[in-house]
C-alpha cells in the first residue's frame, strides 16, 4: 500500500488522541513518501503517551507538512523519494506497525547500501524542519547535575577529563550534606517553575528523599519490572526458533501492565511515565543489568524526549561483570558491586549527560555540575564559569550552582 491510499479508518487501531491527530492531518500524510511516512507515524501512534514538549513537536511538524506547497514538498522530500524500497516493505502493515517497518527499513538500507543516502535525506529534512518550526526555547536556563562515585572511598586517577575543557574544575568542594543540598536546589526549581515533567531526579540506586514535585525514576524502584522482564526474556529464548529480531519485536509490543508497572490501587496512574520507563527497559541495551547504564540511558531519554529544565542524575554502583546469562538471572544472593568501575562509567556518563543537554534549545544559557559524591572534586560548566579553569579555593554547593 502507498501513502496515497490512506483512509481515516486505517487509524482505528491507534490510541484515541493519536487517531484524532492522524485523521486531522490525513491529507498531509497522503503526500509523503513511504520511505519517510512510517517514521512519522511511529511518533504519531505514541502521541497519547508523549511528554508535553513532544506532543507540541509532533503537532508542529504535522502542521508544517500540511502547509507545504507541492513544489516545497518536492524539495523537502526528494532525498527520501529516491530511496528504493522492497515490495516486502511496501506490502507490510506500516500503518499499524510503523516501528517494525522502520526496523525492517533500517536492515534494508544497510543491505542495499542506501544508508548514507537516507542519512543525508534525514539530516536535510531535520534542518529544514528546525528552520521552519524552531524548537521552543526553555522558560528558564536549564540545569543538569551529575553525582558520581557513590561508595568509592578514594580514587587517584583524574576525574571529569572530558568535561574540564568546557568549564571550571574545583578540587576543594565542601562535601557535607552535598546530596541533600543538590536535591533541595532542584526541588526549589520545581516549586518555582511548576511545569509538568520539567524537573527530574534519576537515581541509579535507591532514591533519596526528594521534593514530590520532581519526576523521579530509580533503578531500585524498577526492580520488580526488571525481574519480570528478564524472566520473560529467559522464557522466550528457550522457545525453538526464537531469534534476536523476534525477541526485539516481542519487547516492542510489551505494555506496562506486562511487567507489572501500573499503579497500585489507590495510587494515581501516570501512563506517560509508565510507558517511558517501559521503553527504558525494553528498547535499550544494558539498562536491565547495569545500574550505571540505566542512569545514563534514562537521562539520555529524558533529555531527548521530555527536555527537562532541571535534571539531577545520581549514579550508583553497578554489579560486577559476570556472564550475561548469570546477570539476567535473579539469584538469591546479592550481586557483588564494582564501585570503582562504576565511577569510571559514571564519569563518562556525566559527559554524555552534558552533551545531551547541550543538544537542547537554550544550550548557551544552560549550566551543568558534576560532583564526586562525598569528595572534594566537582566541575561546573555554564555561562558563569570560565572554560578550562581550575579553582583551588574552598567551594560549597551553592557556589557551584551559581
Amino acid at each position: 500500500m502507498q501513502p496515497t491510499d490512506l483512509k481515516p479508518e486505517q487509524f482505528n487501531g491507534y490510541p484515541p488522541e493519536a487517531r484524532k491527530l492522524a485523521a486531522n492531518y490525513i491529507s498531509a500524510l497522503r503526500r509523503l513518501p513511504l520511505s519517510f511516512l512510517p517514521s512519522l507515524l511511529r511518533e504519531v501512534v505514541e502521541y497519547d503517551f508523549k511528554f508535553p514538549v513532544e506532543r507540541r513537536a509532533v503537532e508542529n511538524e504535522l502542521a508544517n507538512l500540511a502547509s507545504l506547497s507541492p513544489e516545497q514538498l518536492k524539495n523537502w522530500f526528494q532525498g527520501f523519494a529516491q530511496i528504493h524500497l522492497s515490495s516486502q516493505l511496501e506490502n507490510s502493515d506500516w500503518v499499524n506497525a510503523p516501528s517494525q517497518f522502520v526496523e525492517q527499513l533500517s536492515a534494508h538500507l544497510w543491505s542495499t547500501h542506501q544508508l548514507d543516502a537516507f542519512r543525508a535525506a534525514a539530516v536535510g529534512y531535520a534542518e529544514r524542519l528546525r528552520a521552519a518550526a524552531p524548537p521552543e526555547p526553555p522558560p528558564i536556563p536549564r540545569l543538569g547535575i551529575a553525582i558520581v562515585g557513590q561508595g568509592v572511598a578514594a580514587y587517584d586517577a583524574p576525574l571529569f577529563r572530558k568535561l574540564r575543557p568546557h568549564g571550571a574544575y574545583f578540587n576543594h568542594v565542601e562535601p557535607e550534606n552535598g546530596l541533600a543540598m543538590l536535591l533541595d536546589a532542584v526541588g526549589a526549581r520545581a516549586k518555582a517553575h511548576p511545569i509538568p515533567y520539567a524537573h527530574w531526579y534519576i537515581d541509579g540506586g535507591q532514591e533519596a528523599r526528594h521534593a514530590p514535585a520532581l519526576t523521579c525514576v530509580s533503578y531500585a524502584a524498577l526492580q520488580p519490572a526488571r525481574a519480570a522482564l528478564t524472566a520473560k526474556m529467559r522464557a522466550e529464548i528457550e522457545r525453538p526458533g526464537m531469534g534476536p529480531e523476534a525477541l526485539r519485536t516481542l519487547m516492542a509490543r510489551m505494555r506496562p501492565e506486562d511487567l507489572g508497572m501500573t499503579a497500585a490501587t489507590g495510587e494515581a496512574s501516570d501512563p506517560v511515565m509508565e510507558r517511558f520507563q517501559l521503553k527504558v527497559l525494553t528498547e535499550s541495551s544494558g539498562t536491565q543489568i547495569f545500574a550505571t547504564t540505566f542512569a545514563q540511558w534514562t537521562a539520555r531519554e529524558a533529555l531527548r524526549r521530555a527536555q527537562p529544565l532541571t535534571l539531577l542524575v545520581r549514579f550508583a554502583p553497578r554489579q560486577r561483570q559476570r556472564p550475561m546469562n548469570e546477570m539476567i538471572s535473579e539469584g538469591t544472593k546479592p550481586a557483588e558491586l564494582d564501585p570503582v568501575g562504576s565511577l569510571v562509567d559514571a564519569d563518562f556518563g556525566a559527559y554524555y549527560n552534558w552533551l545531551n543537554q547541550q543538544r537542547l534549545p537554550g544550550a548557551e544559557q544552560s549550566s551543568f555540575v558534576a560532583w564526586f559524591e562525598g569528595h572534594n572534586e566537582a566541575i561546573a560548566i555554564g555561562p558563569a564559569w570560565p572554560r578550562g579553569a581550575q579553582s583551588n579555593n574552598v567551594t560549597d554547593m551553592k557556589q557551584l550552582l551559581g
Binding site: D116, E236, G243, P244, S285, F290, R322, M324, V340
Partner: protein, 385 residues
C-alpha cells in the same frame, strides 16, 4: 577542522590524517608516501613457506580510546612495541553492514556481504580460506579460524557453488569447546563463556563445520583435564581464544590463521569501564600473539601479521547514537578504521593515510600467498606487495 556539513569521505580523510599525526608523534613512524619500496624485507623469509595470521581487533574501538592522545594509554603494546615495527594504514573504510558477524565475513570474503547479521548462515561469496586452499591445493589443516562467538561457526566456508563445502577453514569456537569439555556445567568457567554482547539473550544453535571435542586431543594435543585446568587461569573469552591459538600454532602450524577478538564488544552493555578493559586486554593479547609468532619455529621469520578492526563505534557527536555503546549510526567514525601489517615482507615504521577498504585485505593476502581472490570486490594493497 570538520563541521556538520562535511561529507563522509571528508570525515574519513580527517580521521585518517588525525590518526597519522598521532602515530607520527607518539610512535615515531614515517609517512609512507616518502619511502621507496625495498626488496630486502622478504629475503630472510624465502627459506620457509610463508604464513599469514589475521587478528580482528574485535568489537570495534574508537580513536579517542585508542590512537588519540587521551586513548594511547589503553593500547601501550600497539603504540610502543608493534606500530614501530609495522606498516600502518590509517584510513581503512568499511562500506558494508556494521554487524560483527556479517562485517567479519565481509573481511574474510573481500566482498560486502549482505546477509542477516544474526542468522547462522555461511557467507555468500568465497572466503579467503577457500581461495587459499583451492588455488594452492592446501589441506584442511592449513587454514583455521578461531572465532569468539558461537554465531561465527559458519565463517570458515561460503555457500558459493564453485567453492563451499570441503574447501573452507576449520573453525574452532573456544567457548563451544569449553562448554563441551565441562559437559555444559561448571560455573567456574562461566566468565569465559560470555557470548554475543549485542544481543545478550540470544545464542544461536550450532551447526556446520565446528570443531569436535575429540579433536582437542588429536589436533591440539590437549587433554580435557589440561584444557579445563588452564582455562581456569584465564579471565575472558578472548584470552581463551589466544590460548587455543597458541596451542594450534604449536601443534598444527597452519599457514593461514584467522583470530577474531570480541571482548571489546561488551561496550553494548553501556559500561564504559568494561569497554576500556576490553581494549586494554585486546592490546595485550595482540602483543602476546606477536611474541608467539616470533618465538614459534614454524612462524618466526616467515609470517606476516595483520591486525584490523571489523569497524569502529559511533561518535559522541552523533545524536542518533549513544557514543561508544553501539555502532548503529553508520557515521564516518564507525566506518573508518585502520590496519597494521607487520612481519615478513612488510616495511617497518611506515604510515599510509590514503584510503583503503576493508575488502582490500583478501586480495592483498592473495597476492602475498599466491592465490587469486577473483570474486572479491577489493584490490591488492600495493604498499604491502
Amino acid at each position: 577542522m570538520i563541521d556538520r556539513t562535511s561529507t563522509p569521505a571528508e570525515l574519513a580523510r580527517h580521521l585518517a590524517l588525525t590518526r597519522r599525526d598521532f602515530l607520527r608523534s607518539a610512535a615515531g613512524v614515517a609517512l609512507g608516501s616518502t619511502l621507496l619500496h625495498s626488496p630486502i624485507a622478504l629475503a630472510g623469509a624465502a627459506m620457509k613457506r610463508r604464513k599469514v595470521v589475521v587478528i580482528t581487533f574485535g568489537g570495534g574501538a574508537r580513536d579517542q580510546e585508542t590512537f588519540a592522545p587521551e586513548g594511547q594509554e589503553n593500547i601501550p603494546h600497539l603504540m610502543r612495541e608493534m606500530i614501530p615495527q609495522s606498516t600502518f594504514f590509517s584510513q581503512v573504510v568499511n562500506r558494508g553492514i556494521l554487524g560483527h558477524y556479517v562485517a567479519t565475513a565481509s573481511l574474510a570474503t573481500g566482498t560486502y556481504e549482505t546477509f542477516n547479521n544474526f542468522a547462522a548462515v555461511s557467507p555468500e561469496n568465497p572466503t579467503v580460506f577457500e581461495y587459499f586452499r583451492k588455488d594452492l591445493h592446501r589441506p584442511a589443516s592449513d587454514a583455521w579460524v578461531i572465532a569468539p562467538s558461537n554465531g561465527f561457526n559458519r565463517i570458515g566456508e561460503s555457500s558459493h557453488r564453485s567453492y563451499g563445502p570441503g574447501l573452507g577453514a576449520r573453525v574452532i569456537l573456544p567457548k563451544h569447546l569449553l562448554t563441551a569439555a565441562t559437559s555444559g556445567g561448571g560455573s567456574d568457567y562461566a566468565h569465559l563463556l560470555r557470548d554475543n554482547y549485542e544481543t545478550p539473550f540470544y545464542t544461536p544453535e550450532l551447526a556446520g563445520n565446528e570443531f569436535e571435542l575429540q579433536q582437542l586431543a588429536m589436533m591440539l594435543k590437549l587433554s580435557v583435564d589440561d584444557f579445563k585446568a588452564h582455562a581456569l587461569t584465564l579471565s575472558s573469552p578472548d584470552e581463551l581464544s589466544v590460548y587455543i591459538a597458541r596451542q594450534l600454532m604449536r601443534q598444527v602450524a597452519p599457514s593461514l590463521l584467522w583470530i577474531t577478538m570480541h571482548d571489546i564488544d561488551i561496550a553494548h552493555a553501556g559500561a564504559y569501564s568494561l569497554y576500556i578493559d576490553g581494549i586494554r586486554r585486546t592490546d595485550r593479547l595482540c602483543a602476546d600473539l606477536w611474541k608467539t609468532i616470533q618465538s614459534e619455529p614454524e612462524y618466526a621469520g616467515n609470517t606476516t601479521l595483520f591486525i584490523l578492526p571489523d569497524f569502529g563505534r559511533d561518535s559522541d557527536e552523533d545524536a542518533g547514537g549513544n557514543g561508544f555503546q553501539h555502532h548503529r549510526t553508520g557515521d564516518a567514525l564507525s566506518r573508518t578504521t585502520w590496519m597494521m601489517a607487520m612481519g615478513a615482507g612488510v616495511r617497518e615504521g611506515v604510515v599510509y593515510d590514503r584510503p583503503a577498504e576493508s575488502t582490500d585485505l583478501v586480495p592483498t593476502l592473495g597476492s602475498m600467498l599466491g592465490f587469486s581472490a577473483s570474486l572479491s570486490q577489493g584490490r591488492p594493497i600495493p604498499e604491502l606487495l
